[in-house]
């Protein structure tokens, strides 16, 4: 596919440029000839850039996977109770075993994200399939309920400031070497999704069609839930949830390339990485020397893109524009 190649090359170039900008801008002036400059580069700037790219890619991929397994384009881990559930798990460990290692926290966040997302999937099974907007609505309600529980416990236990960093708006100013590496696990989970791309695409045709082709819809669903839960939990634990990436990037890519995930997922991953990194850079420059969290920028930008996606006039694809061709 010619168009896909162009988009891939374009996005790669964009990421290269954004990464270069991200490494060279910041409050501290860098002079690479001096060891202090070198340290800023390796301890702060490069990890921050990688963290933004990993977060964006993994969240975008998690968004696609979730949309395929629930067969609805309007859901993402941030609006299906996944992030709130991860935060609930994290909060529980922090309260019960404050000394627990980061690994235990990570596992707890993943497991509770998995439980929360499974509840979402069970819940929407009862909804009439034609009402496509009920699914995201149900997700928002579930997110609200779990979020309220988290907030209530947070108030009671004086943990609100932690919760704010997990759930409100993800940001990368705290990222330094040694404090973002969990995001590689998110990247790994997204990589697994790539290897199961065909399975997710077939599940997107519906459980009937998947069964007819010899797949177990339940097994594919479980794999998908695990990917979504792990990605979300790692992001919540390390930088905080970032809204809209999992929604707008997959929707744009589906428009351009379609739902053949094997072709689409690499593009989605690049798109997500570029978007989050761009938002992080914007947040760093517009009120310099202060910073606006990337999550806040995305909240505004993402909402705008999403509304545009909803209201933009439909245009036929190139193949369709060539007219009827029954041969």
């Amino acid at each position: 596919m010619q168009a896909r190649k162009k988009i891939l090359i374009g996005l790669s170039l964009l990421i290269f440029i954004l990464a270069a900008i991200s490494v060279f801008i910041g409050v501290a002036q860098m002079d690479l000839s001096d060891p202090r400059g070198m340290m800023i580069l390796t301890v702060s700037r490069i990890p921050r850039t990688i963290a933004a790219l990993l977060t964006g890619s993994a969240l975008a991929v998690a968004g696609v996977v979730m949309q395929q397994i629930v067969r609805n384009r309007f859901v993402e881990p941030g609006t299906a109770g996944t992030a709130e559930s991860a935060a609930l798990g994290l909060l529980a460990v922090t309260l019960i075993a404050p000394q627990a290692s980061i690994w235990i926290k990570m596992v707890a966040a993943s497991v509770s994200a998995l439980i929360g997302t499974s509840i979402f999937v069970k819940m929407i099974r009862k909804l009439p399939p034609r009402e496509v907007l009920l699914v995201p609505l149900a997700g928002i309600v579930l997110s609200g309920v779990i979020g309220a529980i988290v907030t209530w416990i947070g108030w009671q236990t004086d943990m609100m400031q932690f919760i704010a960093t997990w759930l409100m708006t993800g940001e990368f100013s705290g990222v330094i070497a040694g404090r973002y590496e969990l995001l590689w696990i998110a990247g790994l989970a997204a990589g697994i999704a790539f290897f199961a791309a065909d399975r997710f695409a077939i599940l997107g045709l519906g459980p009937e069609a998947a069964t007819a082709l010899g797949l177990s819809p339940r097994a594919v669903m479980r794999l998908g839930l695990a990917v979504v839960a792990v990605v979300t939990a790692m992001v919540v634990v390390s930088v905080g949830m970032i809204p809209f990436v999992g929604l707008v990037v997959p929707n744009i890519i589906a428009r351009l390339i379609g739902d053949n995930l094997r072709a689409a997922l690499p593009v989605t991953a690049l798109g997500g990485g570029a978007l989050v990194l761009a938002c992080d850079i914007i947040g760093r420059v517009i009120v310099a020397p202060f910073e606006i969290p990337a999550g806040t920028i995305l909240g505004v930008l993402g909402a705008g893109i999403f509304l545009w996606l909803l209201w933009r006039p439909a245009r036929p694809s190139k193949a369709a524009a060539m007219g009827p061709t029954d041969v």
Binding site: L205, A212, G214, R255, P316
Partner: protein
């Protein structure tokens, strides 16, 4: 041969199928007929292991549909359901290629490419191969799904109302292809409402009503005024044309 033994099926207390015992012969085109709600789709879904069996057993060429490996069953039978509308934005060629999944698991070889190209050509989809499914007419989308089922290239083909949305010409083309499959040694089971298509192309009919098999046999035995009037609770005349029954029900 598909052997259906003592199959009953209920959804939330409602009896959908009751004690079905029948055999669908190998190497023939079998048509499931009967009024709306008779249970035809339910039975076909059970044969295609789309829904799990509750009581009774179904064997397809000796493979039990409950206990056999689903991946292996997907190389024995292809299934196309009654409701094919998908929300996925796939291109026609990509959808058809998924028909090869049971054989190649995503790593298509030359044979797989050839079968996909062949199925696309057979259903006159070559000019539409790069189109997204959501940019097709109802009949074009139905042909894309049929092409996927044909690409699967299995000894058994199960189709639930495959003539849905197809025009006269494409309906005839499809029925002829099904009889070609039969001539090539494969077996076909379809659900049809157009009894004249069944009369013209099927070798064996299974007539269902209220979740039971009312009668089964050759078209000449089943397509009689008595059986059809009882089946559909309406008066039906049957003439003969080209040595086959011709069912008149529209006036």
């Amino acid at each position: 041969m598909i052997e259906i033994k003592n199959v009953s099926y209920a959804i939330g207390g409602a009896k959908i199928l009751q004690d079905i015992n029948t055999v669908i012969p190998k190497g023939s085109v079998t048509a499931l007929i009967g009024p709306n709600g008779a249970g035809k789709s339910s039975l076909l879904n059970l044969i295609g292991r789309i829904e799990p069996l509750q009581t009774g057993t179904i064997d397809v060429d000796g493979q039990n549909v409950t206990t056999s490996h689903s991946g292996r069953l997907a190389r024995t039978m292809a299934f196309l359901g009654q409701h094919t509308a998908v929300a996925s934005r796939l291109r026609v060629s990509e959808l058809v290629a998924f028909g090869r999944w049971p054989h190649c698991h995503g790593r298509p070889g030359p044979e797989d490419h050839e079968k996909v190209a062949d199925a696309i050509a057979q259903f006159s989809l070559r000019g539409l191969a790069d189109r997204f499914l959501d940019e097709l007419s109802g009949g074009q989308a139905q042909r894309a799904h049929l092409a996927m089922t044909f690409a699967q290239d299995t000894p058994w083909v199960l189709l639930d109302e495959p003539l849905n949305n197809l025009d006269m010409a494409h309906s005839r083309i499809l029925m002829r292809k099904l009889s070609d499959l039969r001539d090539a040694g494969k077996s076909v089971v379809i659900v049809v409402h157009d009894l004249n298509q069944a009369a013209a192309w099927a070798d064996h009919l299974v007539a269902m009503k209220h979740g039971r098999v009312v009668v089964s046999g050759a078209p000449d035995e089943v397509l009689t005024p008595d059986w059809l009037s009882a089946l559909y609770d309406t008066e039906v005349q049957v003439l003969r044309y080209a040595d086959r029954p011709l069912v008149l029900s529209h006036v």
